[in-house]
Subunit: 369 residues, 2 copies
């Protein structure tokens, strides 16, 4: 399945901060076919470092999508049955307008003059894209991690526009620890002299800082157990004591590699904006409780968490489930066994596919009635 | 209890890497009085960022010692009964010879020409200090975190020189995750241009990198729960949405503060050397199993871990206990309840004091027989 990223341009996007972006571009991909009733569309929302290329093989670089094991013919999100859409978020750096885009007012890149963006802003732009595609009501919105935050925001902001919601390995609001890990990443980026207050597009990007930020991220995406299985205490290319400050242990060289790799495909300013949006996201904000906030949602829910995910631990999914149940909403919940930590939502295909497949089939049945 | 750090100088210290440091200085403090039989001495070994000032009030700066709540008259390590010693480790930066010391051969500071140091090297120097003080056999050696690694090394390297051992919140070898967190800190330091390949003593130290490293460290020392209780999602000095990249949340400003504070008292090169020593430490190295290695120890053991310590989780303490029990060694173990994460060994005074007090009294009784 060779896919090509498409682009849509909208006149303007009004942001929560009061600023209006004009125009705004959105990168997106679609998989499968929209039926005549336009009732089989599913929106996939991506995590922090994801992009519009969720499935298939990229025509551009030949790489598989970030959730290719879950989206495709016969897979959990079965493209023989459903029309699947995924778009890059606003403030991203993978085709949608963000801090690396040109500010039409100045003719220069925004950098950190780009306005602050919220998860609700990301969702607002997705809604414009869905409208643009002529879809009145989505069969489902699904995503993991920050993608799950967007799912929750969709459910309360546009309750009539989705029949079901599948938030995975996510939370209704970041804990102090989640904010803290993001803050370390931001400080690493901003401490890199090349960051230059966000103005580096015509020179060297803050690759060292961004690399350290990504290394921290990768640790939090894994688990003690998955790291033990993958690396243990194995030394890299020697078996005797070699005390220097190069990468002695395999886990060190892996992290350095992943850190460097990230620098090639991600914009440091987008890193700052997106992590701030995650930290500020609080579905209960302005409401006396999460339950009072989430009762605006009318979709049926499937909430999934993973046993070894210590970054988005199961108790955060249970908070969502409890809030929904306390308002008598239709919600199924499953904590799936996995050693992969937070990465589980990307790699644990088996049971997750079964859960999603059955839930979508049931939703389609209810919608078709 | 006003205390003053003392210094001892030894002609030489032979390191595991083959290099001999000559001379070598040791900073140490003592609390309480050594009895006539010299049978009531306890060595306290410090954690990664600790120093010789474990208890009392510093004559120099008026600050309490890092384990002052555990060491003193009537406390867990009761200085009315015991003579307590604590010394700064070799490769440290708090008075003992380290990378910030002058290399006598060149007249310049060592920087990263300082030889690689192991936990066994740290213990070898402590043994020289204990000999210097005329103590043939310690009543106990105790410490938490990296201090616990030194306790384990003491028990197997000098089995006849200690009657008991109290390793707390520690491990016989770092997991891949522990190595990974240390590596992130090292990369943050080494990526700071001011690090300048370790040669910064006559200019600006790599404060930004060291600060980021310390921020990561602090997160791993706390727990999800303790961070929630201490900070939650409280905003710092405004209660409305203020999207910029200053510290919006209290947890952010706390981490920045602790990061900056650390830069004033710690040498970045020591950070590199000490974390490498921790990562390379493996009590089982050269032996078919941890049990086969630890059976050299003849001391009686009290092993303590804490429920919410996810950096040095209880299973690592249980590995030590199992290895000791499998060789029929005298070992007591307790996992104490705490929300404080790895910091628990520094702040959970109540039960920890009771455990230590009883164990030391019993050890003294056995020694006096």
């Amino acid at each position: 399945m060779i896919v090509e990223t498409q682009f849509a341009r909208f006149d303007s996007l009004a942001l929560d901060c009061g600023v209006t972006l004009s125009p705004v571009d959105v990168a997106y991909e679609t998989y499968g076919a929209l039926n005549a009733e336009k009732s089989n569309a599913i929106l996939i929302t991506h995590a922090f470092s994801g992009d519009a290329h969720a499935a298939g093989v990229s025509k551009e670089d030949g790489k598989p999508g970030w959730w290719d094991n879950m989206i495709g013919p016969g897979k959990g999100f079965d493209t023989d049955k459903y029309f699947v859409i995924c778009s890059n978020i606003v403030s991203g750096c993978r085709g949608t307008t963000g801090p690396g885009s040109i500010n039409p007012a100045t003719g220069k890149r925004w950098g950190i003059t780009f306005p602050g963006v919220t998860v609700a802003d990301m969702v607002r732009l997705q809604k414009m894209l869905v409208d643009h595609l002529g879809i009145r009501k989505l069969l489902s919105v699904s995503g993991g991690s920050m993608g799950g935050m967007q799912v929750l925001e969709w459910a309360v902001s546009y309750p009539d526009s989705l029949a079901s919601a599948i938030p995975i390995a996510t939370t209704a609001r970041h804990s102090a620890m989640q904010i803290a890990f993001n803050e370390v990443g931001r400080q690493a980026v901003m401490f890199d002299p090349n960051w230059n207050n966000g103005d580096y597009y015509d020179s060297q990007p803050p690759g060292r800082g961004l690399s350290v930020a990504r290394m921290v991220g990768h640790i939090t995406y894994m688990s003690d157990e998955s790291m033990r299985q993958k690396f243990g205490r194995r030394l890299r290319d020697r078996d005797k004591f070699g005390f220097d400050f190069s990468a002695d242990f395999e886990v060190e060289s892996y992290l350095r590699y992943r850190g460097n790799q990230f620098v090639d495909r991600f914009d440091a300013n987008s890193y700052l904006y997106i992590t701030k949006a995650m930290d500020y996201f609080d579905l209960s904000q302005g409401f006396p409780s999460l339950a009072a906030s989430i009762e605006r949602a009318t979709a049926r829910f499937l909430v999934i968490s993973f046993t070894s995910d210590w970054l988005y631990p199961t108790y955060q999914s249970i908070e969502i489930v409890s809030a929904l149940r306390s308002r008598n909403r239709d919600v199924a919940f499953c904590e799936l066994p996995s050693n992969y930590g937070h990465d589980a939502f990307l790699v644990e295909v088996g049971e997750q596919s079964e859960m999603v497949r059955g839930f979508l089939a049931q939703t389609l049945k209810q919608v078709s009635k």
